[in-house]
Symmetry: C2
Subunit: 346 residues, 2 copies
């Protein structure tokens, strides 16, 4: 199979997308990979798979590559003798953060009829925004951590007992996130978060909370990863998460009993089906008093959470054969015809 890896994007996570993309060479070994880079200016470039490395991008050397145009049915190179369609079977959307996770790439692929692995438009819009993720989870009967929502111009206060955690609603990879130990620190944490976003959520910071990650997808059946208990520090800052995005070796399952495992898997399935069909996502859960609560949805997880699966490459191939199809809408101009007839014009 020929998989086009779409990466980069106009995103704070542009660089970690490059790291995720390069990692795919180590985990998709049997497939042919076609690398399509979206630069900071949102232009498309065809990157030589043999030569891909991070310096190609940081040095600007990628601009010597062929540029690509997005048109009906695919990406095209333009040459002397017209345009030529780039050959691949499916796009794997690996753009973290803005563009990739907010629904823009999904919209582009959908509009131009390109088969793609990624959350679709609605799934993206709801999971990119942590406030909307709360609405979604609650409507599906999945518990979440309590929260308060503040907009930029709202009064800066919280009724939550400290410590709390302040998060911009729309960013991933812990960007702009702060733990606030008492009221004196709140203002600064909000300044930081509002640098990145117009809206923030404030949640209780639960010291020593048990955290478990579950990734997976639905092909023609459920393909769920092991449940991972992520390495815990106070919380992962950007640089640590960044390194984390290049992971390619498998980890061990969390040491949890079957009951808890099933609870986590059930919560994952409720979130995933049907909204996230066509994508591989990772859900991060908190467990407090045996109660499973959704913390975050990672719609494009770092290096696609490959290290949590036994047969990641096989799953990607199966998923590409079971992508959701948008409804065909037949346009027959029956209303315009009937109006023209009524007017005596037809």
């Amino acid at each position: 199979m020929n998989i086009a890896i779409l990466f980069g994007g106009s995103s704070y996570e542009h660089e970690i997308s490059i790291v995720s993309a390069i990692t795919m060479k180590k985990v998709l070994k049997k497939s042919t990979l076609t690398y399509i880079f979206v630069d900071a200016n949102r232009e498309f470039w065809l990157i030589d798979t043999d030569k891909i490395n991070s310096k190609l991008f940081s040095s600007g050397e990628y601009k010597k590559s062929k540029s690509l145009t997005l048109k009906k049915g695919g990406f095209f190179t333009e040459g002397m003798f017209g345009s030529k369609k780039l050959d691949f079977d499916v796009v794997l959307n690996l753009i973290h953060g803005r563009d990739g996770e907010d629904g823009k790439i999904a919209s582009l692929m959908e509009f131009f009829s390109i088969p793609y692995i990624s959350p679709r438009l609605e799934a993206s819009a709801l999971s990119y925004n942590k406030l909307y993720t709360k609405f979604l989870a609650r409507s599906l009967g999945v518990r979440t951590v309590d929260y308060e929502h503040l907009s930029k111009n709202d009064e800066r206060k919280t009724t939550m007992p400290y410590p709390v955690i302040v998060k911009p609603v729309r960013l991933g990879s812990s960007i702009g996130v702060s733990i606030v130990k008492d009221a004196s620190e709140l203002d600064y944490a909000l300044d930081v978060a509002f640098e990145f976003d117009t809206d923030v959520i404030i949640e209780p910071f639960i010291d020593g909370v048990k955290e478990y990650n579950q990734a997976g997808c639905f092909t023609n059946e459920w393909e769920l990863s092991i449940v991972e208990e992520p390495h815990k520090e106070e919380f992962l800052d950007f640089e640590k998460k960044y390194m984390d995005f290049s992971r390619d070796s498998q980890v061990l399952s969390a040491d949890i009993d079957e009951t808890l495992k099933i609870k986590i898997q059930d919560a994952f399935k409720k979130i995933y089906d049907p909204l996230f069909k066509g994508s591989v996502i990772r859900c991060d859960f908190f467990v407090v008093d045996s109660e499973v609560m959704l913390n975050e949805i990672n719609p494009i997880p770092g290096s696609m959470a490959n290290y949590l699966f036994d047969d990641f490459e096989g799953m990607i191939e199966r998923l590409s054969r079971h992508l959701p199809k948008d409804k065909d809408i037949k346009i027959d101009y029956q209303y315009i015809h009937s109006i023209q007839q009524a007017k005596g014009k037809a």
Copy 2:
């Protein structure tokens, strides 16, 4: 000002978008109009403003027009001597239903840096889906009509007293909507709705409910339309709404007292600001016992609800000067540089 009217789309409302677009010639008289048609196959065509009429599309004759390619910064015609950018100041998104209202067009304009009047991506995703509109309204403190949500595979039952109204969650213009008078009719109504969508909402059908429409936008100040009491029948079916989309003459304000008017305007402002900045929307409200409840958001109202405004053309021009800007994200490759340094490669 040169306004590019983007219309058509792969949507059940493709034909009414054509009607809306043609109506703009009568209401945007001082502006230069550039017509960009999105055909059923999602290809772009430049339509001659002097020759536009509905038959051009129903006959397929539009295919003799110049085709357009969407690239960074605009729409381009391709010719012998390279590509030429189409000249206009702003796009007015007039695609009703799928593509236009679901966030795809917003994504395309945003991605390719084209200034546009339309709800942005998040606003589109939330208002295109009537279930998500409920979440949104409730989170903003705006009341809505009660509802139940059914997915295609759920058990077909409701606890609501009859009569009820069954609506597909994602369509406009009353497509797939039924009024259900008793339990014996429910199954058929659900069959109809599930023809169009995977999800429906069921609401009480409130006989004789007072309905009021409020349109508007925020330029550098609030520009709200008159409050309209729409012509009521049992409910508007598709053909009646269709004819309604070609309206271009002003209507009279509803005969309501100042208190109710202010309640309606306040509810509109809560919904609009800040999510819908950059767009002209119409909100349809029900009033029961002086309580204002959001019925629907029309993110791209028929003929842009021009008939509700005193100075529609002036407002569009002012709005085009006050469009929201996406945050610039500077990509400086500092993480990649620092990793390269750590590895001794730089």
